[in-house]
């Protein structure tokens, strides 16, 4: 493990995560389908998870990996709630495009 990190360098992990994170961000910004937006958020979270693991190895410290479990659990809970909301929106509206959600404004 340590070896690989030495070969590749922590910066590259960071760059990868940042790129992944940005992909997630752009997904959230540009996609209009709620499910895909959820997935983009998941990409963001997973990018961070990746970085956590990398840092964990970098610091030779297990805390980072434990934190990943935390974040995964939280993400799961979040998505569960999100999907539930989505379902009720679909029931009321018959669509899951977030552009339809413009009743509240001004």
């Amino acid at each position: 493990m340590n070896n690989i990190l030495n070969q590749i360098g922590i910066e590259n992990y960071i760059f990868l995560s940042v790129i992944l994170f940005c992909i997630g961000v752009f997904g959230v910004l540009y996609r209009r389908n709620a499910i895909i937006v959820f997935m983009s958020i998941e990409i963001m979270l997973n990018a961070v998870n990746l970085l956590f693991v990398a840092f964990s190895t970098y610091h030779q410290d297990a805390q980072g990996q434990v934190f990943v479990f935390f974040s995964m659990a939280v993400a799961a809970a979040e998505v569960a709630v999100g999907l539930a909301i989505l379902v009720s929106i679909f029931r009321n509206l018959g669509s899951i495009t977030i552009d339809n959600l413009k009743n509240l404004k001004g």
Partner: protein
């Protein structure tokens, strides 16, 4: 620590009551339970301690804010009785969620480890997502929930990324260690980046400009009691957490960062107040007012080493006024489809007491003396001037003037117009909450030392 466990126990108890069919006892028992927890919390005031490898740190700061949160939750629970009259079967769920929300809140001000901070913030947020969307059949509520959820989890992602950067820089999640290490000369650039990202995530939670756009929409769409929760409890929690985060990690608030805070603070006040002027929906108006108050509270970050007391005072004043105002709004808009200002016409004639309470609450928010809001602003101004930011204070003063414009719109509606409907019933709990909240507000207004000296 005991607080946290007791609160969770209370939440579980709530859910059990439903199973055991003790529905009627839920609210009284919860209130009594929360009062007990309050006592328990206060007893720890003079006994700072840390638990579970510093996961939880109990100190004066956490005790004070936790107590405030518990008090606010008591009010919110008391208001639930009337609000959920027609949803008796779900009462326990709502109450339990509120209590879990409190859990998250307490965790957020007593964390000793970033993991605890993250957990707390997520528990709080998820509970709020649920509450926001809790009126399933109402599209507005759905929309509010969805907006809040999407933006909230986006912000959570940012916070998580920030935490990750901090971890990358320091190799630990423990606040005390981070604080110690941050004193050293050579810090990886990741650390400030992480701090900034976390701060931005928290700016979102307190709804500071330009991260505030969710607030009015979500406040408007959510059921009124949820709006009350968000605008009082959630806002105060987020602000306290941000404060604690920045002060506990001994983060280097350099000149550039202070400028950012100055700009965001002024922008929040200004945008919030100006936008509030033209609102016809009271909840929306209070949302923007909340944005501006966030701007005020952000001023405490400019003198972070000394301003804990004033933040506590401001938060208490603001949230008590908010509770009082929302209890009146709950009463007035009970059977209405909307919260338009027209609903308040003639309240001064039909319900003079409630009208007086709402007036008092609004005056407090506007910062008129003898109400706590005045002292809150005074202390804030004095600290900020001392920190050398006269500009911010001038901006804040101008904003206070603008804010009077919309607060008085509501007062005018209550006293200047004829009532267009009869209002019946005097729900005891709503009256009680409204009056107690306002009286507490006035008391701490008359004796500010009671609160200010707690964190001196």
């Amino acid at each position: 620590m005991n607080t946290l466990i007791a609160i969770i126990g209370l939440g579980v108890l709530c859910l059990l009551f439903e199973i055991l069919d003790f529905r009627k006892a839920i609210i009284p028992i919860t209130i009594i339970g929360l009062l007990g927890v309050l006592g328990l919390t206060i007893s720890e005031y003079n006994a700072p301690n840390s638990y579970y490898n510093n996961m939880i740190v109990v100190n004066k700061f956490s005790v004070c804010f936790s107590s405030l949160f518990i008090v606010l939750t008591i009010f919110l629970v008391a208001l639930s009785h009337n609000f959920y009259e027609n949803h008796q079967s779900k009462l326990s769920d709502f109450i339990a969620i509120k209590i879990f929300l409190l859990c998250g809140a307490v965790a957020m001000v007593s964390f000793g480890n970033l993991a605890m901070f993250f957990l707390g913030i997520e528990v709080l947020s998820i509970s709020l997502y649920i509450l926001a969307a809790s009126n399933r059949m109402n599209l507005k509520s759905n929309e509010a929930g969805m907006k809040y959820f999407l933006m909230g989890s986006f912000a959570s992602g940012i916070i998580l990324f920030g935490i990750c950067m901090i971890y990358g820089a320091m190799g630990t999640f423990d606040i005390a260690e981070i604080s110690e290490m941050s004193q050293s000369a050579e810090l990886p650039i990741w650390f400030p980046i992480g701090i900034v990202l976390v701060t931005i995530g928290m700016f979102f939670k307190v709804a500071a400009v330009p991260f505030h756009f969710w607030a009015p929409d979500v406040y408007e769409g959510s059921p009124a009691l949820t709006t009350a929760t968000m605008s009082t409890l959630a806002k105060v929690v987020a602000m306290a957490t941000l404060y604690k985060l920045l002060s506990a990690m001994n983060a280097d608030i350099n000149y550039g960062f202070q400028m950012v805070i100055v700009v965001i603070s002024i922008a929040s006040m200004t945008v919030g107040n100006i936008m509030a002027l033209k609102q016809a929906n009271v909840k929306r108006m209070l949302a923007f007012s909340g944005v501006s108050h966030a701007g005020f509270m952000l001023m405490t970050l400019l003198s972070i080493t000394t301003s804990a007391g004033s933040l506590l005072y401001y938060a208490t004043a603001y949230s008590l006024a908010g509770i009082a105002a929302f209890s009146v709004i709950l009463y007035v808009c009970k059977n209405q489809n909307n919260e338009d200002i027209t609903n308040f016409h003639g309240l001064g004639k039909t319900n003079p007491l409630l009208a007086a309470v709402l007036t008092g609450a609004l005056l407090s928010m506007a910062g008129i003396p003898i109400f706590a809001g005045f002292f809150a602003k005074l202390v804030l101004f004095s600290q900020t001037i001392q920190a050398g930011y006269l500009v911010v204070v001038i901006a804040a003063v101008i904003n206070s003037i603008i804010s009077v414009g919309y607060y008085f719109k509501l007062i005018l509606a209550m006293y200047g117009k004829e009532p267009n409907e009869t209002r019946t019933g005097k729900p005891f709990l709503i009256y009680a909450v409204a009056i107690v909240a306002l009286v507490l507000n006035v008391i701490i207004g008359l004796f500010p030392s009671v609160i200010l000296d707690l964190l001196a």
